[in-house]
């Protein structure tokens, strides 16, 4: 039995610790936060801590207060992202290869004081929008408020790999110095719900579990905002379809931050072609809002409103291409290469392929096609037990689409500008790319 501890912040503590309650310079995100939390950005807060029994998958943590800054010794708009084997998934026999994890702080800000819970191993996904957590990882004592009066709202979120069926609640997400207050989030595989209706199960197979996700949930921070899932209201053991306003849908929490709300940067160091046991990168919130998220020197890849661009590889154009940290490898068709028993491309030796990335749209102005390259190595030569991070596994894609997955991120900083954001580099959605490794640009 694991325990999760929840700390209750006493607003009085802010008054007692004056040195920790001043304006925080670049620290932003809490202005407008009601009930005694308006000004604090730094410092070590006091507060009573209570331990709540919990049978969740999340690692036990404690002493969470709201707000908290610089929990990882990083700039307040930045958190660490780790590629590693998640022990909880490994216990189920599931590898969490190339799965970028962050730790989040999930809060109920409707109470005073606010109540928070730390949840580890949440997948950072640039191919979706919104926070989804396994209900089993969320402490029921958070007592998250419903998003509306009346019957419980449920959602079927669809992915290529399958669907996630869960309830929809209001929660606040805190990550280091950033706070997204009162956002709709999905609690996946919530036992309080009836089973998924046929219109949901008919979209694929159920991936709302630890083994399929690899972690306790998904933090969708891609370039769009609302998740456009299937919504339902549920009562008396059954669920019926409903049209939920966009503003109530599960949404990208980055758009809810006070200042650093126009996109994210995801950065990972380069790794060897043989892979690496673990890698730590960073997820930085905001673009051009702080000294650590400037897009100066980045190459821009404008995308259409579906966040697609055209990748050209071996003379073939793929107009529905995208960059997705939630895809484990690269999924790009490479004619002439054979597949190994894993279904991965297996060249005779390590091989790199050039690609050019260009815009699908006339506006923003299409810059010159951006040359990049990616490596391919026979995955039967790799050790998936010892290592969790790989930059050179490529699987076949589909006609029209190249999916640049987690394999593509190493040795790069990749920016994702939110739809509607206006920056000197263009209007979102767009991608921004800066390469740091020798095999990049």
């Amino acid at each position: 039995m694991k325990n999760i501890s929840v700390a209750l912040l006493l607003p009085l503590s802010c008054l007692l610790l004056l040195s920790g309650c001043g304006g925080g310079g670049a620290d932003v995100g809490f202005m407008g936060y009601s009930g005694g939390y308006t000004s604090a950005t730094t410092g070590n807060y006091g507060g009573s801590t209570s331990t709540l029994p919990n049978g969740s998958n999340a690692t036990a943590t404690f002493s969470q207060t709201l707000p908290v800054t610089n929990t990882q010794g990083a700039p307040s708009n930045q958190v660490n992202v780790t590629i590693e084997q998640n022990p909880a998934a490994s216990a189920l026999g599931a590898y969490s290869t190339n799965t970028p994890f962050v730790t989040i702080n999930l809060c109920n800000a409707s109470t005073q004081p606010a109540v928070c819970q730390t949840i580890d191993h949440v997948l950072v996904d640039t191919g979706s929008y919104g926070l989804r957590l396994l209900a089993s990882a969320v402490n029921t004592n958070l007592n998250l408020p419903a998003i509306q009066n009346g019957p419980l709202v449920a959602e079927c979120a669809t992915f290529v790999s399958g669907f996630m069926w869960g309830s929809v609640y209001t929660a606040s997400l805190q990550m280091n110095g950033e706070l997204a207050k009162n956002v709709s989030v999905q609690l996946v595989a919530d036992s309080a719900l009836p089973s998924a209706p046929a219109s949901c199960t008919g979209t694929g197979t159920d991936i709302g579990n630890l083994a399929s996700i690899g972690g306790n949930g998904i933090l969708g921070v891609g370039p769009l905002i609302q998740d456009q899932g299937y919504y339902y209201t549920c009562s008396a053991g059954s669920c019926t379809s409903t049209n939920l306003p966009l503003s109530s849908q599960v949404s990208n929490p980055v758009a809810f931050f006070s200042l650093d709300n126009n996109g994210v940067l995801l950065q990972f160091p380069a790794i060897p072609v043989s892979g690496q046991s673990s890698v730590t990168g960073t997820l930085t919130f905001g673009l051009n809002t702080q000294t650590n998220n400037s897009l100066a020197g980045f190459s821009i890849i404008p995308s259409d409103l579906s966040t697609y661009f055209t990748a050209t590889i071996a003379g073939q154009a793929y107009p529905q291409s995208f960059i997705d940290s939630g895809s484990v490898y690269n999924y790009i068709t490479l004619p002439g290469l054979t597949l190994n028993a894993n279904g991965d491309y297996a060249p005779g030796s390590y091989t790199t392929y050039p690609a050019t990335l260009s815009s699908n749209t006339a506006t923003p102005t299409n810059p010159n096609p951006l040359p990049v390259e990616f490596g391919v190595l026979d995955s039967t030569l790799l050790d998936f037990t010892a290592n969790a991070a790989f930059n050179d596994v490529v699987d076949p894609g589909s006609s029209g689409s190249a999916d640049f997955g987690m394999s593509f991120f190493y040795g790069k900083t990749i920016g994702f500008a939110l739809v509607g954001s206006t920056l000197p580099q263009g209007t979102g959605p767009f991608y921004a790319l800066q390469c740091t490794s020798s095999n990049c640009l």
Binding site: D125, S128, L224, S398
Partner: protein
């Protein structure tokens, strides 16, 4: 009201009112089934699909397109009254159990069989009985499927926007 309707009252009402296309309310329609109606509830569209111009539809092939209430465009392709292929695109994945019909168990089994690829790695099912691809990410998905045994002799599937 459920999303899933094989041929609901509302659809019949819509068809009669619109007067554009009338399909008799048969009991079933999906990949491999009759083309006398479209399986999903939605608004019928005059064109075949955004990927294929009506003028390019091969002789002997019938194209029918609808848009579901959630905004997914589904096109089914039939020959001699039997649906042999379909394609779709939209912000979410449609109820494939309806449009794939008896082929859906093979599709969902292929999803379950593949090693963990993450959320939105493309699905490529290439079997003798069924070929199905699904690609994309949240807000922009698309896919197609066909039954190789039912594809008319000599038809090049690429003319339908489908990768053979």
């Amino acid at each position: 009201m459920e999303h899933r309707l094989s041929f609901g009252t509302q659809s019949v009402f819509f068809l009669i009112l619109s007067g554009t296309l009338l399909f008799p309310p048969l009991a079933s329609a999906a990949l491999g089934g009759s083309d006398q109606h479209l399986a999903l509830e939605g608004a019928l569209q005059p064109s075949a699909s955004s990927r294929v111009l009506a003028a390019q539809i091969p002789t002997g092939v019938r194209a029918q397109t609808l848009i579901t209430p959630q905004g997914v465009t589904v096109t089914q392709w039939s020959a001699q009254g039997t649906v042999f292929a379909l394609s779709w695109q939209g912000p979410m994945i449609p109820d494939l159990s309806v449009i794939l019909g008896s082929s859906f168990p093979s599709y969902s089994a292929a999803l379950r069989a593949r090693p963990r690829q993450g959320l939105n790695a493309p699905l490529r099912l290439q079997s003798a009985g069924l070929v199905a691809h699904t690609i994309g990410h949240m807000g922009a998905y698309s896919g197609w499927a066909y039954l190789p045994a039912l594809v008319p002799q000599g038809l090049n599937l690429t003319t339908l926007g489908i990768e053979p």
